[in-house]
């Protein structure tokens, strides 16, 4: 860990002022926000992230950034709510179970108590080649190459990856947010703005070091999840080698609106072998207006992974991803939902 200066911001405005510096991307800015620190501090110890200044936002006076407000229009979740607070919130558990479950199935209780949902969506890849500075890595040091392409890539993406980077996005909560058409509120020196959650992350392409469309110093202040007939029949299914405390080998966030057996509306987020939070509109399209049968679910799952590109050690994640999606759809179909 390299020496850095530490500043505790008193409110969001002063935080974004302190973080307003020029950099080639949000994640590589020399000024980084510190909230729970569950990713940042780890990566600083590993010398992967080398910020020169940390702006502590964990005690901002802006109470709205910690609040969870559920209305008939949807739910607004402040970015400084902890994972635990959101996972436990009664309205979220009742009306948006996929949001609660995606958090419950992530990390450990200790981490869920520390980490905030704003920082959670910005958690960085677990790619071993990224996390060890002795390996070439385009994400960490643009232009050096991708060690994972022909390396030990059991943990790497089959959807959305590029020849420059096959790192997977490890989060669960983002998979639920993208499925529910969430949007993100941010604040920067230029003022507040809102963007669709699906526009927050950038696929690696030829610039894997630019992970989001946030400007350097732009601060996430809240998430907005619109209400809808689909959110109550929703769930998050996460498959992994052990029962808990592991990143997803495959996951699916499902929100389903059924008319009898027929799909009126469905939202599908996929996690695990994806380079960014993933929405499968191909699968959704195949299901809408049709009965949710095993065969239709299989066809949707096939479509969801049609674009998959596998490497030596991650080919299993295609059949696993498909089966995970089918299982999640079937489980959502049979969910008991209070009206």
């Amino acid at each position: 860990m390299r020496p850095f200066t530490y500043m505790r911001a008193t409110d969001a405005q002063s935080a974004v002022r302190a973080a307003a510096v020029s950099a080639d991307s949000h994640v590589r800015s020399p000024v980084q926000y510190l909230a729970g620190g569950t990713t940042l501090i780890d990566l600083m110890k590993l010398d992967v992230m080398r910020p020169t200044q940390l702006v502590d936002i964990s005690r901002l006076a802006d109470s709205r950034m910690r609040e969870i407000e559920a209305t008939s229009a949807g739910v607004r979740i402040g970015s400084l709510a902890t994972m635990r607070e959101v996972a436990d919130h009664p309205a979220i558990r009742r009306d948006y179970p996929v949001l609660s479950e995606s958090l419950w199935l992530a990390a450990s209780q200790q981490i869920r108590n520390m980490a905030h949902v704003g920082g959670n969506v910005l958690q960085r890849t677990r790619c071993a080649y990224f996390r060890d500075t002795s390996w070439p890595c385009n994400k960490r040091e643009p232009g050096t190459g991708c060690s994972a392409l022909d390396g030990m890539n059991r943990w790497h993406a089959v959807l959305g990856a590029s020849e420059q980077c096959i790192a997977s996005y490890p989060g669960d909560w983002a998979t639920a947010l993208i499925a529910l058409d969430a949007s993100v509120e941010t604040l920067s020196e230029k003022g507040p703005r809102s963007l669709r959650f699906s526009a927050l992350h950038r696929p690696p392409g030829s610039t894997p070091h630019i992970e989001t469309n946030l400007a350097p110093g732009e601060l996430i202040t809240a998430f907005l999840v619109p209400a809808g007939a689909h959110t109550r029949r929703s769930l998050y299914l996460k498959i992994r080698d052990r029962e808990s405390y592991e990143f997803a080998l495959a996951s699916a966030a499902i929100a389903l609106d059924l008319n009898g057996d027929t799909v009126r509306d469905v939202r599908i987020g996929l996690g695990g072998p994806v380079s960014v939070p993933w929405r499968s509109r191909e699968a959704e399209k195949l299901l809408v207006g049709k009965p949710l049968t095993e065969a239709n679910a299989q066809a949707a799952a096939k479509a969801a992974f049609a674009a998959a590109r596998t490497r030596k050690h991650n080919a299993f994640r295609v059949p696993l991803g498909r089966e995970t999606l089918v299982r999640a759809l079937m489980q959502a179909r049979s969910m008991e939902v209070a009206v």
Partner: protein, 739 residues
């Protein structure tokens, strides 16, 4: 999961709680790195990022410029060190290679520099700024890699003869049913919760080392040799060891470096290696490959056992495990053939890890037996019963005791095995495929010389001192209980001091010898005390007080020198010099019989029909191991062993980038071990067994018993659930969902 206090049965001691339980759960227990020293400097290791080649240059300027950096030690300025021998070549070292000797790099993660600074943070920061240049050569990572060298183990180490009996190949040819298959086990790492640490403190020419160690006398001897100072000038202290599993048994390179740095700086130096550095500086369980051929008659009588074994090793040290001596003794094999080979690659030196040979070899054999049982359409328990034996056929020596089938019967009844539908894929619970499997657990019963000092005072208080180690097993407690039992005291009257090289030498905490060996020495000392007092063990307080009065003394101190009949050295002198002298198991010496502990494990696995994740809702193990000193700590060890076995079967696997021969998942997020949610019902049954031949206390080691066989039981259950046989550990989703 529940763990009630098990009531003692026949030939079992009292189930008292661990003496140090409260200290551990409240955080009061001080581990080696917690020991306070005055004004320490902090060391941080720099390890190689290539597996093979040479260092061609350092740029130390940026590292030395970090405020607080005191020294950057490399091969260019390291003070002199003498070589020591590998532990299988008469020494006590993980490797015969001297730390920071020259520019050569022989494995990834080799120590190439050590930075010492005023703070841990400054040392770590400087480590990131130390620029090293390498000339890399293409490394050989594993089996099948270009550049590996294959040697017959028996040719390199003549002591390691391949066991053989009769003409196994002819017997195989003539067998009605033959099973022939290959099995593989991966690299695994000990990953004890307590990291590898060393703190060195000099007082004049006397050196104190705080380090978690499974053998303080071995560490002292090795360090003395490296530093060219008398062993008496060194003291090794570790009150507690936070898990070891073999990773803390040998002298590793770090200790001497920290001692040198401390001497040069004239102040204590503390090193706590990081989790990822722990993957390359203190050994690992090596990869193995097996070809197992079993022959049988139609009725299920074994006709031949042929086991070919390949063990992956580093380039220079002679580490081997084999273990076919043990597996060949398991059943009535009338013909045995085996070959062990070591395969040398550019890897860090392997070392013992909990049941080193038994885990891979018994996984292969017990899987093969299950496969053969399926071919024969004989229940796998019955196949083992048909071939049960009370002697080791290879050596023709009887077992001192062997309760394998009673273990099977007890565990099978508790599990409900009779309700098993033998057809693979026939059992189902909703969306989950259900499989039941079983396998044999075994561990050789071994023993070592040991010396213990016991003092009994007239007031009935006692003190026992022995440089044994509590690696989490309950050694404090059973050593104290032994004194209490021999002298008819309450456990609370006995103070136990262990884990310090100023005490009389205990055995290495390896080979599951601690309880039998240390307690045998304790028993001798106690018997000597009673003899001096001229009273019986169960004499009351009054008689004891009168005896002390007669002798006109307030306390009697006696040293028990225990040398097992099978000992090679016949004295405890070697122990004082840090030599390991472990005997027993399959290779009976001095007329001794075959000595093993046994168990039988039954598991249920559930595998999701779609996504194929594997869960273990219940596991039942029954074990017979002679005298059980304390059924509570024994229960804990056996339960922990089975949980370890579940991890070994389903989770633990060190991933390697074969291009660079480098470990990839060197952290506890991606190197998986079971978490609480993985462990549901674990039932431990202790089958009473009396064996007065193994050692004076009649106890068989159990620390490495219960994790043997678990992997095969799970693999067998996975086959039963799915019809798919996985012959490569760990058994993970990818292997079940592909093809």
């Amino acid at each position: 999961m529940s763990a009630p206090v098990p009531p003692p049965q026949a030939n079992m001691g009292q189930p008292i709680a661990r003496l140090e339980a409260r200290a551990k759960v409240t955080g009061a227990a001080r581990y080696a790195a917690d020991m306070p020293v005055t004004n320490p400097a902090f060391a941080y290791l720099v390890t190689s990022t290539i597996a093979r080649g040479r260092i061609t240059g350092f740029d130390e300027s940026a590292a030395r410029a970090v405020p607080g950096v005191l020294e950057v030690m490399t091969y260019r300025n390291r003070p002199p060190l003498q070589p020591i021998k590998h532990f299988l070549e008469g020494g006590s070292a993980l490797t015969g290679a001297v730390a920071l000797a020259d520019a050569n790099v022989t494995h990834e993660g080799q120590i190439v520099a050590m930075i010492i600074a005023e703070t841990f943070e400054a040392a770590r920061d400087a480590s990131h700024r130390l620029a090293l240049r390498y000339r890399r050569e293409s490394p050989a990572a594993t089996f099948g890699s270009r550049g590996v060298v294959v040697q017959r183990t028996a040719e390199v180490i003549p002591m390691r003869k391949d066991p053989s009996l009769g003409n196994a190949d002819a017997a195989l040819k003539g067998s009605a049913v033959v099973h022939d298959a290959e099995y593989a086990t991966p690299t695994q790492h000990h990953n004890a919760m307590e990291l590898y640490s060393t703190t060195a403190q000099w007082l004049g020419d006397e050196l104190t080392i705080y380090e978690p160690s499974q053998f303080v006398y071995g560490l002292r001897a090795g360090l003395a040799m490296q530093l060219s100072i008398p062993p008496e000038k060194i003291r090794i202290v570790n009150d507690f060891v936070g898990g070891a599993f073999g990773g803390k048994g040998a002298v590793t390179q770090r200790t001497a470096l920290v001692a040198l740095a401390s001497r040069a700086l004239g102040r204590p130096v503390k090193l706590v290696a990081t989790r990822d550095q722990g993957f390359t500086i203190s050994g690992h369980r090596h990869e193995t490959r097996h070809r197992v051929r079993l022959g049988a008659t139609r009725e299920g009588r074994f006709t031949a056992y042929h086991h070919d074994l390949w063990e992956l090793n580093g380039r220079s040290d002679a580490y081997v495990n084999t273990g076919i001596d043990n597996s060949a003794a398991m059943y009535a094999f009338p013909a045995v053939m085996s070959t062990a080979r070591m395969v040398r690659a550019d890897r860090d030196p392997p070392i013992f890890m909990r049941s080193p040979p038994e885990v891979p070899v018994m996984y292969a054999l017990e899987s093969a037996i299950d496969e053969l049982a399926f071919k024969l359409a004989i229940d796998p328990v019955e196949l083992r019963r048909i071939n049960d034996t009370q002697k080791n056929w290879v050596t023709d020596k009887a077992y001192t005791s062997r309760s394998l089938m009673p273990c099977y019967d007890a565990a099978s009844a508790a599990f409900g095995w009779k309700n098993r539908n033998p057809k693979p894929g026939a059992m189902r619970a909703g969306d989950w495929m259900v499989g039941w499997g079983c396998a044999t657990a075994t561990y050789p019963t071994q023993v070592s010389p040991a010396v213990a000092r016991v003092r009994l005072s007239a007031d009935g208080s006692a003190r026992v001192e022995i440089a044994a180690h509590d690696v989490g097993t309950g050694a404090y407690t059973v050593i104290g209980q032994m004194v209490a039992e021999c002298l008819a005291l309450r456990p609370a009257q006995v103070a136990v001091t262990i884990g310090d090289s100023v005490l009389p030498p205990g055995p290495v905490s390896g080979g599951s010898v601690t309880t039998a060996s240390a307690c045998s020495a304790v028993k001798l000392a106690c018997d000597q005390i009673l003899a001096k007092l001229g009273i019986a063990a169960d004499a009351g307080d009054k008689q004891r007080a009168a005896a002390f009065d007669r002798l006109k003394t307030g306390a009697i101190e006696e040293t028990g020198n225990f040398v097992p009949a099978s000992s090679e050295s016949k004295t405890t002198a070697g122990l004082y010099k840090g030599s390991v002298d472990i005997t027993g198991g399959p290779n009976a010496a001095n007329g001794a019989k075959t000595m093993f502990a046994f168990g039988a494990e039954f598991v249920e696995v559930r595998i999701h029909a779609r996504t194929r994740e594997i869960r273990v809702p219940r596991i039942v193990g029954a074990f017979a191991a002679g005298r059980i000193m304390n059924p509570r700590t024994a229960h804990s060890q056996l339960m922990g062993g089975m949980i370890w076995g579940i991890g070994s079967a389903l989770h633990e696997f060190t991933e390697i980038d074969v291009r660079e021969a480098r470990y990839i998942n060197d952290n506890l997020a991606e190197y998986l071990v079971p978490v609480n949610a993985d462990i549901r019902q674990v039932d431990v049954i202790m089958v009473p067994e009396v064996d007065n031949e193994v050692n004076p206390v009649g106890a068989k080691g159990i620390g490495e018993l219960a994790n043997v066989g678990t992997a095969a039981a799970i693999a067998n259950a996975v086959f039963h659930a799915t019809g798919k046989r996985i012959r490569e550990l760990p058994i993970t989703i990818d292997k079940l969902i592909m093809g």
